[in-house]
Symmetry: C2
Amino acid sequence: MAISVDTFFLELNGQGTLQAQIQQMIAEGILSGRFHVGEKLPSSRKLAAHLGVSRITVTLAYTELLANDYLTAKGRSGYFVSQNAPVPPKYMPLQRGTENVDWDAALARKFSGGDMLSKPRDWRNYRYPFIYGQADRNLFDHANWRLCAVRALGHKDFESLTTDYVDQDDPLLIEFIARHTLPRRGIAARPEEILITMGAQNALWLASRILLTHNRTAVIENPCYYSLRSLLEHWDCDVTPIPVDRDGLPPDALPDATDVIFTTPSHQSPTTATMPVDRRHKLLERARDLDAMVVEDDYEFEMAFLGAPSPALKSMDRDGRVIYVGSFSKSLFPGLRLGYMVGSEPFIREARALRSLVLRHPPGHIQRTAAYFLSLGHYDAQIRRMSKALANRRATLDKAIDEHGLTVAGRGIMGGSSLWMSAPDHVDTAQLARTLQGQSVHIEPGAPFFSGPDQPKNFYRIGYSSIRQDRIEPGVKLIAEAICAC
Amino acid sequence: MAISVDTFFLELNGQGTLQAQIQQMIAEGILSGRFHVGEKLPSSRKLAAHLGVSRITVTLAYTELLANDYLTAKGRSGYFVSQNAPVPPKYMPLQRGTENVDWDAALARKFSGGDMLSKPRDWRNYRYPFIYGQADRNLFDHANWRLCAVRALGHKDFESLTTDYVDQDDPLLIEFIARHTLPRRGIAARPEEILITMGAQNALWLASRILLTHNRTAVIENPCYYSLRSLLEHWDCDVTPIPVDRDGLPPDALPDATDVIFTTPSHQSPTTATMPVDRRHKLLERARDLDAMVVEDDYEFEMAFLGAPSPALKSMDRDGRVIYVGSFSKSLFPGLRLGYMVGSEPFIREARALRSLVLRHPPGHIQRTAAYFLSLGHYDAQIRRMSKALANRRATLDKAIDEHGLTVAGRGIMGGSSLWMSAPDHVDTAQLARTLQGQSVHIEPGAPFFSGPDQPKNFYRIGYSSIRQDRIEPGVKLIAEAICAC
């Protein structure tokens, strides 16, 4: 590739002769790793015109660099970065002034350092990846996704690809969600009551930003999805964690000051508990008494291979106080960053305006691709295939757990893709996870899911959405052995 | 398409016999528009099993609906929504309880109703679309974009497509930006100093959220990009608009309390003024004296067809106090939602953590597609093609403006894709725009760009990035005539 003339600038008050400055620019480009061996330099005519200097100045600079082995000349075709040019050190610090910003003062707010589960980047190389929430290459219908994506790149779809939607969504995707996805959860919604989001995380963020301020109280489940807790920390609101039981969040335990309730009734995260229908009614009654809003994260409802899922909490909501959050991260893949939220029109109007301020809209091409994948029936076929594979893996996993004497703390009655496990009290599962890593086993320590200073350390989560069926039993065996050795 | 059995639920305390309830569910599905003419109903066996009722109950319900013309039977292949079924009213309100949430109380914050330029959705049908910032079908290299997108969907790229990056970016894209894009602006940056964002809007939002609180002061240019003003309103900080002159933001006018300066030095938005190099140095000196941060929105630098662009403010920043914002919205297309920010590592670390809380990361497929498009050289070719077309249109526009006696208030000395215009004082350009709409001319009224209650009403912007060259002169003529008639 040729080096563009546009990357050269003369400094206003540069040191030395023009020729020396040009030499230096080129040498620095090579030393800093910007210019690679074999790349062609601009012609002396072009560079001279661009910098506003005489051509002979550039030619002299090039000749000097030739002599120093930075460049080579190939007859009439010009100058190239030489094979013998000095090699840039791998992590050479760039030359720049001493930065003198006082970052502690300049940063009005800090966001780094939250409680996060760190997933190993190379988890696909693990032999026993009991990882949660990642796409399985063998289950995802890559071929049809690709066909839909190509179709969405066609001339007919040029507008949906390129348009500045500002605050709109792809009408095809909205229609499909309204007509086919939501009715499966018992939810009837008009297009104005649906907003496409960058995954469930974005939906939870939008909802919390709209519903919370410093003088309001949010209730979260304990344990809960750690990223929800992290994002609530930044609104200066009170956050009250309520311990869940085997039926999920207990409505009686909600404090009187509650303004917003974050809950996962279908499949509590991470314990996988399903809230019974009568408790759902009680939760809604309690919310009405408190005049509180409810944010329902209905993740993974598609993976119901052990029993029909109950209708969503939102389907029982006569008041309009439930904000429903759905996602395609688990059923398609997380890198897609596509989810949706459903709520009453006054709420969705604010969420749409806020989304527009923060990021405008999820990219059109992705929305249209998903709309095709859903409407052509590939999505349903994929869910069936995934559910079948998950059911098989789950059976193998349940058997292996029995066999090796592990303790299940929560197992989704309708399916799902993970189990919530407990080790004996003295076991620190963060340490356990590190030990198992050495044996190519990945498990998720449970502590980050808990609120407060006394996080129990003996829980862990094992996912079965990305592990081969024949690896499950030997993997469980290794976990059991590692726990015994603690 | 068949209607899925999963969309049927029996209500816990439903009214009437089971048969009646099933009939009602189906009739409601048809009446509400969820079930379309010709769609196949689940077999009686399947639906009975799903609902846990006897098959004869379902069959009786179907027979009844057949008699009422909701359904038709096609021999052995089952029941379908009848052509003669009652047609749903177009905007039939869905049956639901009376919502009783007090939205004024429930919404802790409001975001809707900001100053926005509303673009007509059907602008492509306008004969004279002097619209700003949209993709031109004739200039965008759709064929190669498609090839890159398809390549990024390949098996080799499965990970970059599907992976849950959490807080990472596509290393290919980052490398290209660091090695090729930023050097054109005179900027040297390491990968840890670059963050991919959902367009420039998202970058401005992230920067403002990190740098501002209620006790800080932001300086913005007046006039400025209206969306920047809208997003700053929500951080409760002081916002001081500083009038720009023909060289952009005057450093001497910055008040002593300034904490963060938002500026567009290359190409002031919307006046298109380019800040001279010595003023840039003065601006940085003033920022150092104030210990203020600078957010540089370097939009449209690629469209420099009239003169070489000056290096970015960031390239002169020895302190690390400039946050640089770039975007592919103008050079590729706005629906892509892809931009980037460059800053010192302590800042980018916070921006990355905040982005992860809000939306995780821009979709992998889009990042990889852009990386291919850039690295295969299509991007540079496209910029050249666009610049050439814009130069031609600009020449035609300049000529037409002279001919018809319109007044230019600001024209980018290096190029760009718009002119900032003024009409006589008594003209309200919002009214003018409405009048011109009737003649299929689109212009942008200027008032939303100004801060404060006394927004001048006589400015307007005309874009030339989406209008055919032969339409420019007749369009300008219509604008001139409409102004005369005011």
